[in-house]
Amino acid sequence: MAKKTYDLLFKLLLIGDSGVGKTCVLFRFSDDAFNTTFISTIGIDFKIKTVELQGKKIKLQIWDTAGQERFHTITTSYYRGAMGIMLVYDITNGKSFENISKWLRNIDEHANEDVERMLLGNKCDMDDKRVVPKGKGEQIAREHGIRFFETSAKANINIEKAFLTLAEDILRKTPVKEPNSENVDISSGGGVTGWKSKCC
């Protein structure tokens, strides 16, 4: 019997205003590291991280988008393939919070209808510069029926928890595959890619 490197492939997407820390959040999750220098993401980038949930190896392909307006035509074309979207704002930047509704509209317009959404208020280590109260983040998340975490890529707060929770939420919606099916069609729709054994 063939051993598998992963059971499922989930595609996640990070969106939000420029400078809120999307790349840092991802870098903390994928490499467990943090870099203070700000380098604006050009267009789109991705990272891979395999996690284990409920006995399943899940490969996360996480797309990191540029927040700058000028890249939007490029980044929005990546919404469609995403099974989970993390919308990030910066608790020290009121504008990034105000723009949440704009980003949610973008999701409605460009992403799959059943995409799993999550709201992150990043930089929660900088409480002295906070302008968005935690309650406001919780409120807007409640209004839209999505999960919410305050995170800090720098202080490593809630980063792994957020990604694992999002992956779990996607896993919960994922139809259970027949374990004995010999020919798993990995190009099938529904977004979830799984396989058991396949000859090369």
Partner: protein, 211 residues
């Protein structure tokens, strides 16, 4: 007595070109507006004043007064000359500004038409080394290629890990080699699936070798 003889000399010179004063005579200068006064008018005034002082005779008090009057007239002459020079400079500046304005007015319409391309247009400075040069499509292509290469690198790294951990001997290359064109990062699902297939195939091979 210096003024009268000087005056006579000057008057002969001036008589040819200053008709206005000819009609009024030297006394006419006294009736002029101070802002229109010229150095010649001051000389006329000196002539008139000098003539009247002479008529008063050689009383020492008259002589005393005469020195002061000459001094005052010299001061007046200096002020008038300076005023006239300033006025002339201002006139020249005004004329050149007027010309400049006319020039700008003539060039104005085409220049403003060029700058006013419309609400959605942008003017690019071709001498700016950081001017925009590439299209969105070009950037999209470069990013897709970068992400494709990155995914190929990940596959290669995993494969290398297999070799390193001795999962299969170096001469035995796993199958699926024909699918070298690993495609990822395309917004189209076809590209993504192909990439996944390739990765999966390679990984399956990797782990098959193990057993």
């Amino acid at each position: 007595m210096e003024e009268p003889p000087l005056r006579e000399e000057e008057e002969e010179e001036e008589e040819d070109d200053d008709e206005e004063r000819d009609e009024a005579g030297p006394e006419g200068a006294l009736g002029k507006s101070p802002s229109r006064l010229t150095a010649e008018d001051v000389y006329d005034i000196s002539f008139v004043v000098g003539r009247e002082l002479m008529a008063l005779g050689s009383d020492p008090r008259v002589t005393q007064l005469q020195f002061k009057i000459v001094r005052v007239l010299e001061m007046l002459e200096a002020l008038v000359s300076e005023g006239n020079l300033t006025a002339e400079a201002l006139r020249m500046e005004r004329d050149s500004l007027r010309k400049e304005v006319e020039g700008l007015r003539r060039e104005g319409p085409p220049a403003s038409r060029e700058a006013n391309l419309g609400p959605d247009k942008m003017v690019v400075d071709l001498t700016d080394p950081n001017r925009p040069r590439f299209t969105l499509q070009e950037l999209r292509d470069v990013l897709q290629e970068r992400n494709r290469l990155k995914s190929q690198l990940l596959v290669a790294q995993e494969e290398l890990q297999c070799y390193k951990s001795g999962l299969f001997p170096p001469r035995e290359v796993p199958g699926g080699r024909e699918e070298k064109d690993v495609l990822v990062s395309r917004a189209s699902s076809a590209g993504r699936n192909k990439e996944e297939k390739t990765i999966i195939k390679k990984l399956v091979c990797c782990f098959r070798e193990q057993h």
